[in-house]
């Protein structure tokens, strides 16, 4: 058997594959965070909670309303995105003129409330969500069996990330959005309704988190705490990629997933902290992050 650093190659490849799956979730979640921060300047600490609500929306849909996985992929992000819009209209928009810290405090508080409510309703033990019939089974890659569902997660995540990047960086809508964040008054003078645009941006960012939640539901247990454990890592990913950089969020999400996977083979004990070590190093070397603008 071929070995690298004294570790058999199949083991490394297997962990890298899993790292890619985790990286897909990091990318999807940090993408939403980056969009919201880049365009609104809000540090959305409720992102993990929206991710969790997305997963619960899928679970409740399946258990009580007969909504299958494929419909949940569309409906859950829509529902949670609408909730995000309500939050933006009622609370968040009053804070744009203030220090970003206020937005952080508000969203953090909302995350705690959402978690507490779901804990009251569903308890802390996870609910399991079955893998959809069509995506059961696995591919034998030689070094490991890759469940079809996990391959689907990678595919879905890369597609969604690519589309979002294209929308924001390469279309007219995207250029207007970016212009509005540079100078809202001027853009408004051209007859573009900036508040509506900002509102839908927040809704879309939240919907991305919910989509990640639906994708994660069959992989991990749907539990009220699933978001809070992930959101910290995702914030580190966004900081490494450069706050507000769309491409940075996507690339560093996937790469950090891989790095984490590799660490699990070489020195498993460090796998939980490797992301933060990298974050510290990046901040020392390039305080604006790898893809951030000076």
């Amino acid at each position: 058997m071929t070995a690298v650093f004294g570790v058999p190659l199949p083991a490394i490849l297997g962990q890298l594959m899993l790292g890619l799956v985790n990286g897909s979730f990091y990318a999807l979640l940090s993408l939403g965070l980056a969009v919201i921060f880049g365009l609104l300047g809000v540090v959305n600490f409720a992102h993990g909670a929206f991710y969790m609500l997305g997963a619960f929306a899928a679970y409740v849909g399946l258990q009580f309303l007969g909504v299958n996985y494929w419909c949940a992929l569309i409906l859950a992000p829509l529902a949670v995105g609408l909730l995000g819009i309500v939050v933006e209209r009622l609370f968040l928009r009053h804070l744009y003129q203030l220090d970003p810290l206020y937005g952080l405090l508000l969203t953090f508080g909302m995350a705690l409330i959402a978690e507490g409510c779901m804990r009251g309703l569903f308890g802390v033990s996870g609910k399991s969500y079955p893998v959809p019939e069509l995506l059961r089974g696995g591919f034998n890659l030689g070094f490991m069996v890759l469940p079809i569902y996990r391959a689907w997660v990678i595919l879905a995540s890369v597609t969604v990330c690519g589309t979002t990047w294209f929308l924001i960086e390469r279309t007219r809508l995207g250029s207007r959005l970016r212009a509005a964040t540079e100078n809202a008054r001027l853009v408004q003078a051209f007859g573009i309704n900036v508040p509506i645009m900002v509102m839908s941006t927040y809704g879309a960012g939240v919907a991305l988190a919910a989509l990640a939640g639906v994708l994660a539901a069959p992989v991990v247990q749907v539990s009220p705490l699933m978001g809070s454990s992930l959101v910290i890592v995702v914030f580190a990913v966004v900081v490494i990629g450069g706050m507000g950089s769309i491409l940075g969020a996507i690339v560093s999400g996937l790469v950090l997933g891989l790095v984490e996977g590799l660490t699990k083979v070489i020195y498993p004990e460090a796998s939980n902290i490797v992301v933060f070590v990298i974050m510290a190093m990046v901040l020392m070397w390039r305080p604006t992050g790898l893809f951030g603008k000076e």
Partner: protein
């Protein structure tokens, strides 16, 4: 005048005496339950165990020695400090007479210290760690349903003897997991097998994929799952999803019938496991299963049956000695044989372990299962001595007396 007021004071004093005496006669016997009611172990005992204990209280008539029996329950959330402080609170403020301890060895170890300090008998039912009657034993602990030693002697020895010689463990990272792994390792080594490695996963892990890939790349024949509750079902499900069960034989070092039910026979078939009780063993177990099923719509697990039995045995002991005095009750419990729907001729050893028959089971295939909840076939019946050894654990200070 003086006489009058003295008489009045005397009268008041007497009436106080009568009132407090009446209070003593009417003081309830308080039984508590501290368990994981919402986490990974909530299905193994949890609400079902509360129901079972209440069934036992109702069957006993709701009173003992003319005193009403009161039942309390609390969720320890798998946190030892919560379990211990709740126990202390009940002992200090609610007149707790006996505590039923639910899942989680870590919590039970913390609670056993309170049992010793407050002199309140503690029946450890859901927790498995054999240190509860070893290094952590107390004069007021009874380890009731099963322990990690018996699980190792049952499941691990059955698998090694069938040729599963090389093992890799996925272990729950706390007292229970490490004790279970130790017990299984002892049996594997004693039977000429070897352990190629182990990985510890935190309690409540949901994604086991990277741990399982480590197990797979070890090249071991047997995947020893030294965990329980949803940790067990999640890890087995992931092993199945990643095709690891095709190359490695999974060993369920602790599985409850609730886990098998949620995994379904399709995934769980062929598994070996060890249990202290199964609903379909004999007429008495079936009768209890039927009554319980009527209330909970599930068959009881070994823990839930243990809750019923332990509650009943405690009340029997209180009735026999005519008092709730903890020392008298413990002496009676250690003297009497236990004969009920849970076990026959069980007895409580000097170190507090309830020694009773254990069963090595194999999970049936979907084709073998003839009716709902027909999940196990008995592979081996182990006497209590075979499961746990005849002698008390020398690590327990009580055993030396």
């Amino acid at each position: 005048m003086v006489l009058k007021s003295t008489a009045a004071a005397l009268g008041a004093f007497l009436s106080l005496c009568i009132a407090s005496q009446a209070g003593a006669a009417g003081e309830p016997v308080v039984i508590g339950d501290i368990d994981d009611l919402s986490g990974v172990y909530a299905d193994a005992a949890g609400q079902g165990a509360i129901e079972a204990a209440n069934m036992a209280i109702a069957d006993f008539g709701g009173t003992v020695l003319g005193r009403k029996i009161v039942f309390l329950s609390a969720d320890h959330q798998n946190k030892p400090d919560i379990g211990a402080s709740k126990f202390r609170e009940w002992a200090d403020q609610n007149g707790l007479n006996m505590l039923l301890g639910g899942s989680n060895t870590g919590v039970s170890i913390a609670m056993s210290k309170v049992a010793a300090a407050k002199k309140v008998p503690l029946f450890e039912i859901g927790a498995g760690g054999s240190s509860l009657t070893g290094a952590d034993c107390t004069a007021y602990s009874v380890h009731y349903a099963y322990d990690t030693t018996a699980l190792g002697n049952g499941t691990a020895s059955a698998i090694v003897k069938q040729g599963g010689k090389s093992w890799f463990f996925v272990t729950a990272d706390y007292a229970f997991g490490t004790q279970l792994q130790e017990a299984a390792t002892r049996v594997v080594l004693a039977n000429g097998g070897k352990v190629l490695g182990a990985v510890r996963a935190p309690l409540g892990t949901t994604d086991y994929s990277s741990f399982l890939l480590q197990a797979q790349s070890s090249g071991a024949q047997v995947l020893g799952l030294a965990n329980a509750g949803t940790d067990f079902s999640n890890s087995l499900k992931a092993a199945d999803e990643f095709g690891i069960t095709k190359t490695m034989k999974p060993a369920a070092l602790l599985a409850f019938i609730s886990d098998i039910h949620s995994l379904t026979l399709q995934t769980a078939q062929g598994l070996y496991l060890t249990t202290g009780w199964y609903w379909d063993l004999n007429d008495e177990t079936r009768a209890f299963g039927k009554r319980y099923f009527g209330k909970m719509k599930k068959e009881p697990t070994m823990d839930q049956a243990g809750y019923y039995s332990a509650t009943l045995q405690y009340l029997n002991a209180v009735k026999a000695v005519g008092s709730t005095d903890p020392d008298l009750v413990m002496a009676q419990l250690k003297k009497a044989k236990i004969n009920d729907m849970f076990t026959k001729n069980g007895y409580i050893r000097a170190d507090g372990l309830m020694v009773h028959t254990m069963y090595v089971m194999q999970v049936k295939t979907p084709a073998e299962s003839k009716y709902p909840w027909d999940y196990y076939k008995v592979i081996k019946v182990m006497s209590g001595e075979e499961a746990d050894g005849a002698q008390p654990d020398p690590a327990c200070t009580l055993a030396k007396k």
